[in-house]
Each structure stands twice: as structure tokens, then as C-alpha cells.
Chain length 319, copies 2
Amino acid sequence: MLNARPGVREETITKVQEAVGRLGYVRDTYAANLARQRQYRFVFVLPEGPSQFAIALEAALQEAFSSHFADRTVLKIVRIPAHDPHAIVQILQGLQHLPLDGVALMAPETPQVRDAVSRLKESGLAVVALASDLPNTKRDYFIGINSIAAGRTAGLLMGRFARTGGEILVATNSMRSRDSLERRLGFEAVISGEFKGLKVLPSVESFDNPTRMEEIVREVTATRRRLVGVYSMGSGNAAILRALRRSGRIDDLVVIAHELTPATRRALEENEIAALIAQNVGHLARSALRVLRNLCDDRPIFEAQERVRIEIILRENLP
Amino acid sequence: MLNARPGVREETITKVQEAVGRLGYVRDTYAANLARQRQYRFVFVLPEGPSQFAIALEAALQEAFSSHFADRTVLKIVRIPAHDPHAIVQILQGLQHLPLDGVALMAPETPQVRDAVSRLKESGLAVVALASDLPNTKRDYFIGINSIAAGRTAGLLMGRFARTGGEILVATNSMRSRDSLERRLGFEAVISGEFKGLKVLPSVESFDNPTRMEEIVREVTATRRRLVGVYSMGSGNAAILRALRRSGRIDDLVVIAHELTPATRRALEENEIAALIAQNVGHLARSALRVLRNLCDDRPIFEAQERVRIEIILRENLP
DNA sequence: GTTGAAAAGAGGTACGTTCCTCAGATACGC
DNA sequence: GCGTATCTGAGGAACGTACCTCTTTTCAAC
């Protein structure tokens, strides 16, 4: 009666509404779901490969289930080859014919992916972009941090940590990714605006090739004597750190990287990395589940709760 | 049958357990609570007065209720005069005769409070210490950050942000509080261990008197020409900031404070405060509720989820 | 073997909700 | 006014669990 059953008189509705307000009734969502035998069927689409981030996210989802947070949800995790838009599209297509309520998607933004997402939406699924936004698609929600703000935070830290003027190396996997572009944008804006003594060098890219990254960093450290800092915007931290250690200059450089992984944690503990910009993966996972559920029941989303914080991690506040 | 009903044969128990394992049965906590008409009755004991922290915490609790996080929970918030141990004890005594399942307590540690907490425990309540730990009591759990680590984090930030050697002022409400002691301890350990050029001055205390604090800070800034930084460990940020602004030196000092409040937020935005050490109040509230519930049902506590992070907030990553 | 008490388990009801069924109400055409 | 078709709303079963009651089983003492 409380639900929009077709064929209830207007008058009755208002009468019920009024009584509801008067008695202070609040619906017991859980009893409702129990009665309805509600199941939330979600798929999480994550990049394949040995991505520490995806591993951590999967662990966080596991955690959500073990703590009854994800009761009444059935979850499937699908891995996609992050750099093959065609394959991604194919996999997303396949989802349309599954009995499914929602999809959380972490994929680089390409025109093909955009189209595939829009088609998912049209087939009635709830879709959230995870960690990396997909603007200009019909995705319902984005859960992750603002890349520009993350870059600005890194820039501010770099500027304050660097004790002398000099050059900053910015390294990433690929500048074709929107996240990298935005991080650099934010980083550079702060450095050039507030720290005149620092100069940000052109970004170097590894294109998923650790050896290549190691080689580039080796060369830069060898030739750029005025180098004072390194900002690693994406994956490939291990290779960068290896090259920096070899160069013998790691203790004199301010290194700032993204995401807490076993490698970055160790480097932080060893004072090799000065600071880490991270997002709480557990929060990301829970947010995605909560938002997807709310979308399915078309209930409102509590924006404040879903805002993912840009965390700064130093040696002393490692979680 | 699944619950420890007295008078079930050993053999039957193991048989059931086995079947449970085999079928992969997981209890639907919510259906159980529905059947049992479970109500969790908690009291949150918070310091009275215009504490921004308490206000934020209250808002966070409100939020938990509105997002169905706190379903089946009835909550009462009680304010205590933080500096009157006798009154605190009296209020805690009063709780024992209420129909109650658990208490979350934020109170300075004194012998009287310790005793009162132990008595609460003995009357069968679940008790968690909130924000400020109460060791050497029978409290079940502490939800908050490690003060020594928080102090160390502030120390590391101060050391790296200060561009020249000099003196650091440490201000607090009262060094009689364990939190202040520990924060200073951690702060000093890092500074004296790693930043030889910096010298931490003896702590100054306001004893809940903003005017006094303002006066002290005014004097220190006027006389200590080598002052390079201020670490505000507790409340009283507004008074400290006021004095620093008057001194005309605020732009040359590295100011680090605790907790995100309207005042500290503004100062951060204005570049008056360099960094803030904070804890996520929303997380604190949800953790407290979750832990209390688990304690009541004596279910295990998921430590990793309840660990409160030491957040570092700069101008660029303000939430 | 009988008795009786205690232990074990089976069965039914209730929790707050949804959804289905069915009966009563209403409207409409003749 | 009557029959029929459509609306409306009331009533009950079910969801997964707990808890109470009642019957059956077990076991010790005689």
C-alpha cells in the first residue's frame, strides 16, 4: 500500500501519507527486503593484471560481505584488459543479458566504453563509475576522488617538502588517461602558482612497461642534476623506486606517489617516499555497494557519506 | 537451536554445526533481530559546552540514523561537564539504572571516572571509550586515534614544513589530559630525533580560558623572535589564531592544529594553518555504534574496519 | 521393569513487510 | 434497475529467524 501499486485512489494515498506523518512511521527496509526476497545482483568490472589496487578492492569487497554489510547481495567480479577498449565493450555487452541489477565499473574512458556504458544504462541497470570517472556517459554516479584536487594536494606537499628550488619529474603510465591528465593539471597549477622555484618537467610515460619506466627514470636522474622531486601519478611505483635507489639520489629527492600498496608502504617506512596520496579502498567498496543499492530501490543517495576523501599518508600515520 | 540454549546435547550441537558448515548457511542477522524484536539502547556521553567536536559527532550520529545505519537502535546523548569528575561520576552512576545495553564515553581519564566505568561494566553494559582512551579500566574497546602517533604525524609535518631552524610553540588546553601528554610526547620525539634545527618550547596551557590563551600566545610571539611554528594540540584554536593574526607573524609561522571545525577550516583555506590532524567523525560515530552492537550480541569485532585513521588535511584536500 | 524427572527436539506463532487473492464498491451501458 | 467490467481495499500467506510450548526420548534410581 505504501508502494506505488497501480490503482490506488488519490484520496486514499493522501490519507495514508497523512497517517504516516502523524504516527512517525518509518519503514523497516530490512523487513521489506525479507518479505520481498530482495536480492541485489551486482557486477564489479575491474582491470585485470596484477594491479594492487584491484587486489585491495577485491579484499575490501570480501570484507564487506564478511561484516554483513553486503547481505542480500550477490556479487561477481569481472576482469577486463584495461587497454583493449574492444574487449571491454564485448564484456560489457555480455552483461546485458545476465540477470543483473547494477554494475560498478573501473575502466579508462574511451568513446567505445562511453557507448557501452550508455547501453548498459538503457538496459535498465544501475551503473557507477569506480575510482576513475566516466563523464559524458549516462553513469548514475561516480565514486572516487577528484583527480585535479588529488594533483593539487600532491603539488602542495611537494612545494612545501622541497627545501630548495629545482626540477620535478612527473611519471605516469600513460598521459592518455584522463586521471593522469587531471592529476598533472592540478599538480602543475599549484607548483607554478605558489612555488616559483620549482619547475615541473614534461611527463614521462611507461606504457605498462616497467623496464621502460626504469630506464627513463635512470636517465633523468643521471642527467638532471637539479632534480629535487618525483611525482608518480599512477602505477609503476616499483620500477620508479628501483631506478631511484640505483641512482643513489633517492634520499635527497622528495618522492610523492599514489595509492597504498605493499611496495609504497615499504618505501614510506624506509623514508624513500615522503608522502602518499591515497583513497580508502574499503570506503570505495562500501560506497559502491551502498550507492548501487540505493539506485536500485531508487532511494536518495547521501552525498556526504559517499564522498571519498583524498588521504595523505606519511610514515607516521600509516594505517 | 543455533543459539546457546541451555540443555542441548554435545552431540547434537556438533551435528548441527557440521550441517551448518556443509550447507554454507549464514544466519540472517536482521531476520533474527526482527524475530527477537531486538532493540539496542545506547547512551553517548559527550563533553558539554560549545565543543565543535561534540557537535560534529552529534551530527554524524544523526546521519547514521537517517541512513538506516542505526536501525533498531535507540540513542540518548548525555552531556557532561568535562572538568568535574564528581559530576561525571554521578551521571555515569545514573546510567546504571536505566534500561540500557551500552555506553560510548568521551571523558578525560581520572581515577573517579575509571572507577565509574568499571562499575558500568560490572552492571553488564557494553562500554566503549570514544576519541579519548580510558586504559586501565574495564572498557571493552577504544575507538579513536593513537595520540602518540597523531603527535608524531604533526611532528613530521612540522619538521618538513619548517624551512629554517627555530622554536616551536606547543599549546593545549591542559597538559593534565592524557591525550595532550601523548601528543606532545610523539611530537617531540620526531622533532628531536629528526629535525635537529628545531626546538620545542615548553607547553603552554589555557585551562579552558580563551583570553588566557590569547594572552600567552601574544606574549610568546612578541618575545620569541626565533619562533617558526605553532602546534595546537587541543581546543582553543580560535583564540590561538586570533593572537597569531594580531602578531602579524602568522604568515611566517607553520601552524598545525587538530580537528576540522569551521574555524580551522577557514584558517586552512586562508593559508593560516598549514595542516590539520583530524579524525573522521562520521567514522567514529559509525564505529562506535557497530562495536557496541557487536559487543551486545557478543559477536567478534572487525578490527581493521574500526581502526580510525589519522587524517592529514591540507588546503587542497579539504573534504 | 517401572517410575519420574530432566533433557531433547518438534511444532507453532510472531516480528514488519510485500504481494497475491478475493470480495466489496463503483461506474457504465442498456 | 440490473448486469457487467473495472476499481479499490481488506485479508492472509510468506520471508528467515527466535522463542515458547508441548511431546518424546533418555537415563538414573528403585
